[in-house]
Amino acid sequence: MPLEGTLVRLREERAEDIPLLTALRNDLDTQAWSKTLPPDFTEPMLRKRFEAREFSYDPLEGRFIVERLDTGEAVGYIGYSHLERRLGVSIGVMISKAAWGKGFAEEANDLLLRFLFHELGLRVVWLWTHSGNPRAIRLAEKVGFQVAARFRDAIFKDGRMLENVVMDQTREEFYARHPDLVDGLPSLNPGL
């Protein structure tokens, strides 16, 4: 199953993507967490991480480049980490500002969710954002997430104290949004 929609495909990272990943990492609008500051990441830093990645049959993270189908241009990154196998995972996305508002992030999220629920058999997916990023919250709600928790006075960004916002989406909610897909994974607890 290719991770491909009508606007974008999700493909593996390649060495030539490193300038894009560096730019995304160094942009305060696409990099959500102050923990990653200062924005002085270099291409050699990201190349080191890229080259250190080893082949594994048991990966607990997945990293994909979001590539436009019409032009082949790489416009962002999407991935998951901290995988609890067959249970849950957290996802994250960064799209170049020039590519905002074109539906790429929404479709990339949907493609990744389809992979996580339909191929990895997860029961829940989480994501973390903050109250200063209503755009991200709206996008997440659009692809089926709901706000699960808000931590007060937890994020400092752009000179403001913000809430740390956690969102989640269950397997059943995903399949309810995708009537074209059949969930062949038995429920663990039909009563819930």
């Binding site: 699960a148 937890a154 994020i155």
Partner: protein
């Protein structure tokens, strides 16, 4: 009550404490369910005896009755705190004393503006304890684990510096 650091020779006491089945799922460690072998506890003890671990041991006389953790790894503005008390000592105020000490430490010696913690939805005693200490439920993350044939949800709780100052002043 004596709040101090862990020492390497606390291994036996910590091994005994962490293997109390009543504490499974409440210990605030990775892979929190189930017993821990001595090498696993020794590895934890190695971490917890480092100067930056943020872990304190609570003794009553020579008896280890609990421990507390302050984790600033995510962001010093919002440390994660966790308190564990020996089941035989529940209901005697040890947890409250321990948490009071940790919060005072956090809010009087660090730039933290809030603290937070994570509890499981079945841990009603822990939730009641946190709320009695002034913490507020921040929401509910669904399906963080499976226990007794049902999904476990996580209940995060938080407490702001302003709330702590009000309680501390009263």
């Amino acid at each position: 009550m004596n709040l101090t650091t862990f020492e390497p020779d606390d291994l036996d006491a910590l091994h005994g404490l962490l293997n109390r089945s009543e504490l499974f799922g409440r210990r605030g460690i990775r892979d929190d369910e189930g017993p821990l072998a001595r090498p696993a506890v020794n590895k934890l003890l190695d971490e917890w005896t480092q100067p930056t671990s943020g872990v304190s041991a609570l003794f009553a006389g020579n008896e280890l009755v609990g421990y507390g953790k302050v984790d600033t790894g995510w962001d010093p503005l919002t440390p994660e705190v966790h308190v564990v008390v020996h089941p035989d000592r529940w209901g005697h105020g040890y947890g409250s004393q321990l948490l009071t000490s940790l919060l005072a430490l956090v809010f009087t010696t660090t730039p933290a503006l809030s603290v937070h913690s994570w509890l499981t939805d079945w841990n009603t005693e822990g939730l009641a304890f946190a709320e009695a200490a002034g913490f507020t439920r921040a929401g509910r993350l669904r399906r963080v684990a499976i226990r007794n044939s049902r999904y476990v949800d996580a209940i995060p709780v938080d407490l702001t510096r302003a709330e702590w100052e009000v309680r501390h002043a009263s």
